[in-house]
Amino acid sequence: METMRADIAAILDQPTSLVEDGVNLLDLGLDSLRIMELADRWSQASGVFVDFAMLAEEPEVTAWWGLISDRTG
């Protein structure tokens, strides 16, 4: 999950400390295109199918981690 947090911070060009649990990532400036990029990246990295639709519903780091970890484990 920390990698995920770091990825998000990097794509936003913000410090990782800002990507807190519970924070609405949209408030940090995350937009559709960037979410798509993250989805692509994590799909390849984890081997699990992740797309924009799945991430878009609840743009928050723990929720996202939940989505991916549920399916890799």
Binding site: G29, L33, F49, M54
Partner: protein, 1318 residues
């Protein structure tokens, strides 16, 4: 109403806001198939057909948003899945067909084009086509109410995943699609949320003070059924450049591209404040992220473009605006339009749309090759620029989609090419946006050089040399014809030379200016020729101008001498200039024989003509011989002038049009016929001259051509060529010309600064151009249309008009500052100049120029150029005047000048005195018709004079100068003149209302008639017979004496007859029938009848119940039938055009039904703020005073201002009479009739039920009324084939007033003219 989760998971609830927007649009045009989106997914690989069908079925079953109906009260529709069957996916095996693909496409096409009724049809459909064992096409089509672009992607991704699962046996990787119910709940919550309030507040601020939003076309955007598409894949280099630009500016690449498009659009609208429409998905952070449904919105992105900024900075700013907009992107744009009041005013919220769709690859299925093809993607209201990602190898495709009603396919393709070139230059530009050209290189080549390919060899010579040449060739040909004299070329040259010697002896040589002051005559012509033969330039001085003006010109031009006949010598100020009297009256004045005049050279000045100056000082334009020779040689060749021609000189010599009249003949050896001095104002005289002398070419300023054509002497006139210039030549005038006169008509354009005319357009009878272009440049002349950065603009875009080439003037006499200001370097031809005309123009696609108005405060009065500033300066200089303004008002007979002045403190202005002063100082054309004293001049918010706020003056001039033949006519004319307080005596055809009469003055007039003639005519008589002759007839028939009164035919005098002619017109055009509103009287349509520019009979239908003793109809249908009977007897061959305001609209609809029933054709059906009778079904029956209230309302009075106890017939009558309303002058009987009719109509409407009618309706909604109510054009949808909805900014009561009538007449006029069978 919230969301109901029924026991079976039934969805039920109010439509989402997104759906409501689409729903309302759909109701107006239910047959528009563009509300369907379709796609075909081609699958190659071994797939079992039934399994495939199963996968599709499963996918679609997961989309519960599709399985709904929209139902319920049209004012508050709901969506429900109750009892809605599942959407069955069918299999269609086309593998046995000879051309399976073609069969599929045909079936798919008809399905996609089939409009779906959300109340009864499935909202989506799907078919699996089996093409072969290893090829299937999956077709899907969804209505916009249930799916948008993102939703389709969700659908496709899920489908591919399920397909993969089935073919591999593995579980699906994607979760099940979400339920629409969650979206409904979320939407319901948003409606009442604080977020929504915040969003609204944001938009209110963002769009504050938004001026009219422009787009690439000036037309009104309306959903179209189909659209044009122009597509091209963007090269990888450009794509990379745009991506880099986005990165550098810190914005996403979609925003970078959109910013570039905004700059592109700005170049076409001439406005730096641009609003684009950006579609937003609205899926982020929403329950809808995994639900196929419709939630997409288009947000306005407003950005101000500064040409001095770098493209990078613009991109950055745009990115900020876009981010803010998307953060508030849930707020519906349809709602925004309503709240900003744009709907009421018919205004756009945004211009073109920019849609950037990144590539979303489909999940792969091993062994299956999938290819997705998108079919329709929705209605295009205006123009949409879509950038569609195609994947790593495929690049990005630019698709330009446009509404065919506003753009042609060619234009759409041009936008595509031009935008691509613009994007390249934009991405490559580092310094300022201004350096990015608007046109592609090819376009620039066309619109700067191609359209100006006018080089033609013309001799470098002078007018004098050409005269001499003609003299040698044809010495005995008749050169000049005057009132009592005719001269051959030999005689002309003899006198000219004598004069030249006389002038030489007086010190005139090359480079000098000589004032020439003569009335129009042969002597004047010889004067001009003599001056030029002496090497000098002539300066025409009009003896009819005020002396002060002549003095001013002489003072400014400083001529060497002034030439005048002895009778006019007093006009020449002896103290400032020498006078040469010609013809000589004595030996001293005759020409010496031993003097040799200097011949002019091509670059010498030929003439100096003064034009109006904006700061009060007129300026002298100097034209050289070579320039005017070019103009004349072109004319000779273009119109095949030769020695047999006879040209009429009738234009005042101070107007440069006269120059070609005067000197073209001698270029060809033709004859110049000189009209007597005042003849040019007298149509009869002109016609006589033309006939007597066999004139083959004559000039008219358009505002003089009109009256000339109207004059009886113009009937059957034949003249080979008629030239118009000086003002816009209108299409109706062209058409009138060809109906009256046999001859060619030509339109010419050009300022004095460019040797008379620089462009030409032929206007033959079959020319249908409207507006008539000013045309194409003449020889050796170039025309440029440039924006404010001197960049050439695209065709169709208005810009500043510049002239270059051989005909340019040398400059302004003695005004180097002005000269260098207006004659600037030509940016396209090194070393040459161009002249800034101050006119606006646009190129047509065919290379002809269209005039588009002035950029400043110059106007044309009877063809002459007037700077308003010059008149204002003169008035403001007068004692007692603090400030002055002048405005030109457009009137049917041409522009009229009205002056406004404010007084210095302690002074009272004398308007007549001011006008007299102006008359003494300025030429006729510059004298205002009237001077109005104001307390203050209106200013704009920035403190400048707001000309548009200067008040309209009262109309005051009678038109018709014909003869009044009977004593009654003379009396009527006199009464008109007095009551309306106009200048001049009205003529036989002058119309009371056109002269400025209205209800108030009508009442006055009728009172005069009563007291002077002893005849009591009702106002209806005036409405139906408003001209002097016809009203006089009405008086004669209603004349004193009991016999006259007892004639039943005289019912007519009250204007209450069942068919009332509101305007006359030719028999060969189907009339427009206007049906009465609640009060039964149709007088309210008089203004509209007059506003219809095309001549067409307009007939008002009035209630039969107005006359006592006549029965009232038992139902509205019966009423409609009887009206139809009345108008259709013997006239079944033409379409019936109907129009109704309020209740009249309801009746019009019923009449349309009846007309179709009996086999007649229905033409235009126009409803003015009328709504179906259903609206009143449940309304309580009106009380006893309702009729009186209705009467007051009809008269525009507020019933609330009368005490209910006082609401009696008498008080209402008195109130109306006191206000001067014509209804107050109705007789008791007539008033009874109105009351009966109102009561009856109220009841009939409440009882009426409409049937659906196979006709199209045009609906005008009173935009300023019905706020907060649900009235709209869509209410007619169930009862008509199609409803065309317009919203105009008026209240209900003013829908038949002047301003509203103009708007309605414009639209209706077009429809009537373009309709079949007329």
């Amino acid at each position: 109403m919230g969301v109901d989760l029924g026991s079976n998971g039934v969805i039920e609830g109010r439509l989402t806001e997104a759906q409501e927007g689409l729903w309302l649009a759909r109701r107006l045009d239910p047959r528009n198939p563009s509300q369907n989106t379709g796609q075909i997914l081609r699958l190659r690989g071994p797939i079992d057909t039934e399994s495939l069908r199963g996968v599709v079925q499963q996918t679609i079953d997961e989309c519960d948003a599709f399985r709904v109906r929209i139902a319920g009260d049209p004012a508050a529709p709901t969506v429900t899945s109750r009892d809605v069957p599942h959407i069955r996916v069918a299999v269609d095996d086309v593998s046995g067909e000879r051309d399976p693909e073609r069969v599929i496409r045909s079936r798919v096409q008809s399905d996609v084009e089939r409009p779906r009724d959300p109340a009864s049809d499935p909202m989506a459909s799907s078919v699996v086509y089996r093409v072969a064992d290893d090829e299937h096409w999956w077709y899907f089509c969804g209505q916009h109410l249930v799916i948008d672009g993102y939703g389709t992607t969700l659908l496709n991704v899920r489908f591919m995943d399920l397909l993969r699962a089935v073919s591999t046996g593995e579980p699906p990787r994607t979760p099940e699609l979400g339920s629409f119910q969650a979206v409904l709940e979320e939407d319901a919550a948003y409606r009442v949320s604080a977020d929504r309030l915040a969003d609204r507040r944001f938009w209110g601020e963002e769009l504050a003070e938004l001026a009219d939003v422009a787009s690439l076309s000036g037309g009104e955007p309306l959903p179209s059924a189909f659209h044009h598409r122009a597509r091209r894949v963007i090269g990888a280099e450009l794509q990379g450049a745009l991506e880099a630009m986005g990165r550098d500016a810190g914005v996403t690449w979609p925003d970078a591209v959109a910013a570039a498009v905004a700059a592109f659009v700005a170049r076409h609208t001439g406005d730096g404040d641009i609003v684009l429409g950006l579609p937003v998905m609205n899926r982020l952070g929403s329950a809808s992220a995994r639900v196929p449904c419709t939630i997409m919105n288009v947000t306005p992105i407003r950005v101000r473009l500064d040409e001095a900024e770098t493209p990078g900075a613009i991109v950055a700013r745009f990115g900020d605006a876009s981010k803010r907009a998307r953060a508030h992107g849930r707020y519906r744009s349809e709602e925004l339009r309503r709240e900003l009041g744009f709907v009421g005013e018919g205004r756009r919220l945004f211009g073109p749309l920019v849609n950037v769709l990144p590539f979303r690859p489909l999940p792969a299925v091993e062994g299956v090759a999938a290819h997705l093809e998108v079919l329709g993607a929705g209605p295009v209201d205006d123009v949409t620029f879509t950038f569609r990602g195609g994947g790593v190898d495929a690049g990005i495709a630019l698709e330009v989609d446009s509404n065919p009603a506003l753009y042609s396919l060619a234009q759409t393709e041009t936008f595509r090419d031009r935008l691509l070139a613009f994007l390249e230059a934009f991405a490559a530009e580092d310094h300022e946006l201004a350096r990015v050209p608007t046109l592609t290189e090819t376009e620039k080549e066309r619109w700067v050089r191609g359209v100006n390919d006018t080089a033609h060899a013309v001799e470098e010579t002078t007018l004098v040399e050409r005269l001499e040449r003609t003299v040698r060739a044809r010495p005995d040909a008749v050169a000049l014809v005057g009132e009592e004299i005719e001269l051959t070329y030999a005689e002309v040259i003899e006198r000219t030379n004598a004069l030249a010697r006389r002038l030489r002896a007086a010190g005139v040589g090359r480079g000098a200016i000589v004032g020439v002051c003569y009335p129009r005559s042969v002597d004047q012509v010889l004067g001009f020729l003599g001056v030029m033969s002496a090497g000098a330039a002539y300066l025409p001085l009009d003896p009819e101008h005020p002396e002060g003006r002549i003095r001013q010109l002489i003072g400014d031009a400083e001529p060497r001498v002034v030439l005048a006949p002895s009778s006019l010598s007093r006009l020449v100020p002896a103290d400032s200039v020498d006078l040469v009297v010609w013809p000589p009256g004595s030996v001293d004045e005759s020409a010496p024989s031993d003097v040799e005049p200097e011949a002019p050279r091509p670059h010498d000045a030929a003439y100096v003509i003064y034009t109006s100056g904006s700061t009060g000082r007129p300026k002298g334009v100097v034209i050289e011989h070579r320039a005017i020779v070019n103009r004349l040689e072109w004319m000779r060749a273009a119109f095949a002038f030769g020695p047999d021609d006879r040209i009429l000189h009738k234009t005042p010599a101070t107007f440069d049009v006269s120059v070609w009249e005067l000197f073209l003949p001698m270029l060809c050896g033709a004859t110049l016929v000189v009209a007597p001095p005042t003849a040019h104002r007298d149509p009869a005289w002109i016609a006589r001259l033309i006939r007597e002398h066999g004139i083959t070419a004559v000039h008219f300023v358009p505002s003089m051509l009109g009256p000339f054509l109207d004059h009886p002497s113009a009937d059957g006139l034949e003249v080979r060529r008629v030239f118009c210039s000086g003002e816009a030549l209108t299409a109706p005038l062209r058409d009138r010309f060809h109906r009256r006169v046999r001859g060619e008509l030509h339109n010419l354009y050009g300022p004095t600064e460019a040797a008379v005319d620089v462009t030409h357009w032929a206007a033959p009878p079959h020319d249908t151009s409207d507006p008539i272009p000013i045309g194409r440049p003449v020889w050796n002349t170039r025309m440029y249309v440039l924006d404010d950065h001197q960049r050439p603009v695209p065709p169709g875009v208005v810009g500043d008009l510049f002239i270059a080439g051989r005909q340019l003037a040398r400059g302004y006499l003695g005004r180097d500052d002005l000269t260098s200001d207006r004659f600037i370097p030509d940016p396209f031809v090194a070393g040459e100049r161009m002249y800034r005309t101050g006119d606006l123009a646009a190129w047509r696609e065919d290379g002809a120029l269209e005039f588009a108005g002035r950029a400043d405060h110059q106007v044309k009065i009877r063809g002459q150029r007037i700077e308003l500033g010059e008149i204002e300066t003169v008035i403001a200089d007068l004692p007692g005047v603090a400030s002055a303004a002048v405005r030109a008002w457009a009137e049917p007979q041409g522009a009229a000048l009205v002056a406004y002045a404010t007084a210095t403190s302690g002074t009272v202005l004398d308007p007549d005195g001011i006008r007299a002063e102006v008359t003494a100082r300025l030429p006729d054309a510059m004298v205002p018709r009237v001077v109005l004293a104001l307390d203050d001049l209106p200013l704009t918010s920035s403190g400048k004079l707001d000309r548009n706020a200067l008040p309209r003056p009262p109309r005051a001039r009678a038109e018709d100068t014909g003869a009044l033949t009977t004593p009654t006519q003379r009396l009527v004319a006199e009464m008109f003149r007095q009551v309306l307080d106009i200048d001049g005596m009205p003529g036989p055809t002058d119309d009371f209302f056109a002269l400025g009469g209205h209800s108030l003055t009508a009442v006055e007039l009728l009172a005069e008639v009563r007291s002077r003639c002893g005849v009591d005519l009702g106002p209806g008589a005036l409405f139906s017979r408003p001209t002097v002759t016809r009203f006089a007839e009405a008086i004669d028939r209603g004349g004193p004496g009991p016999e006259a009164r007892s004639d039943p035919g005289l019912d007519e005098t009250y204007g209450l007859e069942p068919l009332l002619e509101l305007s006359s017109g030719p028999e060969d055009r189907a009339p427009l029938y206007c049906i009465h509103p609640a009060g039964g009287i149709s007088w309210c349509y008089g203004t509209l009848a007059r506003a219809l520019a095309s001549r067409r009979r307009v007939i008002g239908l009035q209630a039969t119940g107005l006359r006592t003793g006549r029965p009232l109809p038992g139902s509205l249908t019966e009423m409609a039938s009887s009206y139809v009977d009345a108008i259709s007897t013997g006239r079944r061959d033409r379409p019936f055009h109907l129009l109704g305001w309020s209740v009249g609209g309801i009746i019009a609809h019923a009449m349309a039904a009846r007309l179709l029933e009996i086999g007649c054709r229905v033409g235009q059906v126009v409803l003015l703020d009328a709504y179906p009778a259903d609206c009143w079904h449940d309304a309580p029956p009106p009380g006893p005073d309702a009729a009186l209230r209705a009467l007051l309302l009809i008269a525009g009075e507020d019933p609330e201002t009368i005490d209910p106890d006082d609401l009696t017939r008498e008080t209402v009558r008195a109130r109306l009479a006191e206000r001067g309303h014509v209804l107050g002058a109705l007789s008791d009987d007539a008033l009874d009739g109105v009351v009966r009719v109102v009561e009856s109509n109220n009841r009939l409407v409440r009882e009426h039920h409409h049937e659906p009618v196979e006709a199209d309706l045009i609906h005008f909604q009173a935009g300023l009324d019905h706020v907060g109510e649900r009235f709209d054009a869509g209410m007619w949808a169930p009862y008509a084939r199609r409803v065309e909805a317009h919203v105009i900014p008026f209240v209900h009561a003013r829908m038949t007033g002047g301003a509203a009538s103009e708007r309605v007449a414009t639209v209706l006029g077009q429809r009537l003219e373009s309709g079949r069978g007329r």
